[in-house]
């Protein structure tokens, strides 16, 4: 038999002004199972809590109802007090008679009746409450970081510097990501590689960082604190342990005319290559699609010249399993492709700009490679078509971004700034040249950003034209730009030598496939979704997985680095305890009733439902039932409402509890 204690709070006068608390306490005292009821001015104060604790001990109370404010306010307070008095905290419930009663009603009679009913409801509920033990899960204090761009590098270094092991996985042969491709960075114009490469070297040399380049995530199993990640190491055809990075293989490789993706395909590389000289690791990869040996079975020059004998044509893809406790996703962005329509994608390209047909219409990243001192032109701005220096250059903003018609409605955030930077770099390198920018709005919020943009106009003499461009076409060796200036209200025509399109930022190709492996959600553009737009911006709704950088939305470098450090801090918070404690509001399966239809598994957004085999003593399979992993379950209860045989129950919200409440009305 339960001995329920009910405590009615006055909340100063907040409740007692409209609710006759004494009457409520008296009425409730008569309810079956209630052995103690009282009212007090401030239940949440120290004397109030002591009143509660003493009553539990003196009256030998088994269940508690506190009628006061919203449980969102003080449920934790009272459950803690109850626990201190030796009761299981989940045997305490709150009845909300402030926000849902005294504050929203004026009639004292009505409010008192309602308050009594609310308390009565909770009394019936608490009778059915069970002792719930706190759930603890062990934490593997190793972290996986997916993506070796600036976001991944920053997160990996922060976590590793804290003394925890990090597994860093990068798809390309080298870490560095897009930032390594950039020439100079806004708003300070410092050289991107100068600030990037030391960090890349730090990663390579860090004793706590295990680096997998040219590798991809194959499979993710487990849950917060206990993930098992299968990584596919693609065959490099070069033994990383033996290779000394001398580079002789690359100088001798006869295939020298392969467009280098790192240089936006305007520079060339060999078939055995590192994408750029400062690559980390400095171990080459053989591009099997373009290698003569793989195509014809002949050549093998690289193998012959390799002193340490590192070239291995027989190497196979390898699968490695790494146990980790947390995952930071930092897969970054990809540039919008102007001239093609990817299959099955709602994104459309722009035929009117002739990109891909007119060689001197390039995108912003290609301009970065042209302007980069280590780029294919050694930092000279030269046209891809004839290698001449463009004297009139036109930049067009918002290509793909803010273009609902093309399938992207969002602003890519960085283009206004990088275009302003481009005009400056151009002016620094081509003194007698003129830069024009067609734009809609200049969006430059950020420290020293607007000043930077204004400088490009006022000091670096870029001409900004508010208006868009309808079409580009080749006329002789010029590109005719058909634009408009909406401020003046006239059409503008410029015969340019080169046109740079500021293309939108999109998530990496295949971002949705990785999200499906990780069990995290993503938006309609395939950007990964954070748990809360404002208050949990670096966490995924799936526990133990964190986001850093442009995979979550368009971002510039400072923002990316901040988010990466924030994600690292979240990982470190998780790693600060050996065991993970969590609220025991989780679903449990009654195996006797479960028929193994797995309707619950289909509706579970967290992948918490597993299949469990039940065998007899001889080891014969009796049936397969559902099993809810308490480490993964978030406690939404959707499985319970879905279960056709009522064999799964959410602790704290059982059918019994709910029905008891309804019946109390």
């Amino acid at each position: 038999m339960s001995r329920i204690g009910v405590f009615i709070c006055h909340c100063g006068e907040n409740i007692s002004r409209t609710v006759d608390v004494e009457r409520v306490a008296a009425e409730v005292g008569k309810m079956p199972g209630v052995s103690f009821s009282t009212d007090y001015k401030y239940m949440c104060s120290d004397p109030g809590q002591n009143l509660l604790k003493n009553a539990i001990q003196e009256q030998k109370l088994t269940h508690i109802v506190v009628a006061a404010c919203s449980p969102r306010m003080h449920e934790k307070t009272f459950r803690k007090a109850v626990e201190a008095a030796g009761l299981n905290p989940y045997l305490c419930e709150m009845a909300n008679i402030r926000e849902h009663c005294s504050w929203v009603h004026e009639n004292k009679e009505e409010a008192t009746v309602k308050a009594t009913e609310i308390v009565g409801m909770m009394v019936e509920r608490v009778k059915k409450n069970r002792v719930l033990p706190t759930i603890t899960v062990p934490v593997t204090k190793r972290s996986l970081v997916i993506g070796g761009g600036i976001a991944g590098i920053q997160a990996a270094l922060d976590i590793a510097d804290c003394g925890h092991e990090v597994v860093l996985v990068e798809r390309e042969p080298s870490i560095g990501g897009h930032m390594a491709q950039l020439s100079e960075t806004f708003p300070t114009l410092d050289c991107s590689q100068c600030i990037m490469t030391p960090k890349m070297v730090d990663v390579a040399n860090h004793p706590k960082i295990k680096l997998y380049t040219y590798s991809e995530i194959e499979l993710v199993e487990g849950y917060i604190g206990n993930f098992q990640v299968t990584i596919k190491k693609k065959a490099r055809s070069v033994d990383e342990d033996r290779c000394t990075g001398c580079g002789v293989c690359m100088t001798k490789c006869p295939q020298k005319k392969i467009p280098n993706k790192f240089d936006q395909n305007i520079g060339m590389r060999t078939a055995i290559y590192v994408p750029f000289p400062q690559a980390v690791p400095n171990t080459p990869v053989i591009d099997r699609d373009n290698c003569t040996w793989y195509k014809t079975g002949k050549c093998g020059v690289c193998q012959k010249v390799c002193g340490p004998g590192a070239v291995d044509f027989e190497q196979q893809d390898q699968l490695v399993v790494e146990p980790v406790g947390a995952i930071v996703v930092a897969t970054g962005f990809d540039l919008y492709t102007i001239d093609e329509k990817p299959k099955g994608s709602p994104i459309k390209g722009y035929g009117e700009f002739g990109h891909g047909k007119i060689p001197d219409v390039i995108d912003g990243m290609t301009f970065e490679r042209l302007a980069s001192a280590s780029g294919p032109t050694g930092g000279k701005i030269l046209r891809p078509s004839d290698g001449k220096e463009p004297k009139q250059i036109v930049f067009i903003q918002c290509i793909g971004s803010r273009a609902r018609e093309k399938g992207i409605s969002y602003c890519s955030k960085v283009c206004c700034m990088y275009t302003a930077k481009h005009t400056m770099l151009y002016h620094h390198k081509v003194h007698d040249g003129q830069a024009y920018v067609f734009f809609m709005d200049a969006r430059t919020p950020g420290k020293s950003y607007d000043e930077f943009w204004r400088r490009s106009i006022e000091e670096e003499e870029a001409v900004y034209i508010r208006g868009m461009v309808s079409r580009l076409y080749q006329k002789g060796d010029k590109i005719v730009v058909m634009g408009s200036d909406i401020a003046v209200g006239v059409q503008v025509e410029i015969e340019a030598d080169m046109v740079v399109l500021a293309t939108a930022i999109q998530p990496q190709k295949g971002a949705e496939l990785l999200a499906q492996k990780l069990g995290i959600s993503y938006d309609k553009y395939n950007f990964y979704s954070e748990a809360h737009a404002k208050l949990r911006p670096v966490e995924c709704a799936t526990a133990g997985i964190y986001l850093a950088g442009a995979c979550q939305g368009p971002k510039d470098i400072p923002e990316t680095v901040s988010q990466a450090s924030a994600a690292a801090a979240k990982v470190m918070t998780l790693f600060s305890k050996d065991q993970l404690e969590r609220e025991p509001i989780v679903a449990r399966v009654k195996e006797s009733g479960c028929v193994g239809c797995f309707a619950c598994k289909k509706v579970c957004a967290y992948g918490a439902v597993e299949e469990k085999e039940i065998r007899d003593r001889q080891g014969n399979l009796i049936k397969t039932v559902a099993f809810v992993n308490p480490g993964v379950c978030a406690g939404c209860g959707t499985c319970q409402a879905t279960c056709p045989s009522k064999s799964v129950e959410l602790d704290g919200y059982t059918d019994e509890q709910v029905i008891a409440m309804i019946e109390a009305l």
């Binding site: 009603h105 959707t638 309804i662």
Partner: protein, 165 residues
């Protein structure tokens, strides 16, 4: 609930809400001191996905005149997609309820976010007034009466009669 005035029908409204959005929205209505009819009783769930249609039936059976189910806006679910599952489930359930003979005007589904205290007040007030104008929900009560004649006897009247013997 007892009617506060004689001869006036005061409907009984039960609200099934999720804790993250609508419960918080109702809290906000409270902290903003908005006023609404006192007819509603709120049952808190972690998510609308947890709400079993059986609860709605049970509520009507227990004498509710109107039922409100309210959760996060589509796409805002704290549990990623619980409200979508709920929406799908209730779309089917409405048909069943209609078939059973319950006037669907007594059952309201809505989305009220944690920021929409005003909307909560509006939804609750509208439903209360609507149900008030429809009069008491009798279908289930009549059914229950029949059941009682067929066996289960524990109405207060009978109890009283029994006691007096």
């Amino acid at each position: 609930m007892q009617p506060t005035k004689q001869n006036t029908f005061e409907p009984k409204i039960i609200a099934f809400v999720c804790t993250w959005c609508t419960y918080a929205g109702a809290d906000l209505a409270g902290t903003s001191r908005m006023q609404y009819p006192s007819n509603v009783r709120v049952l808190k769930f972690p998510c609308t996905g947890r709400i079993d249609p059986v609860f709605i039936l049970k509520a009507f059976q227990q004498g509710a005149d109107g039922v409100l189910v309210s959760g996060c806006h589509p796409g805002d679910c704290h549990y990623i997609a619980g409200n979508f599952h709920a929406r799908r489930r209730f779309a089917v359930f409405r048909k069943l309820l209609e078939f059973v003979g319950v006037d669907l005007n007594r059952l309201q589904f809505s989305w009220v976010s944690a920021a929409e205290g005003g909307k909560w007040v509006e939804v609750v007030t509208d439903l209360t007034e609507k149900v008030r104008s429809m009069g008491p929900m009798t279908e289930f009560k009549e059914l229950a009466m029949e059941e009682q004649w067929s066996g289960a006897i524990n109405t207060p009247e009978l109890q009283e009669a029994y006691n007096s013997i």
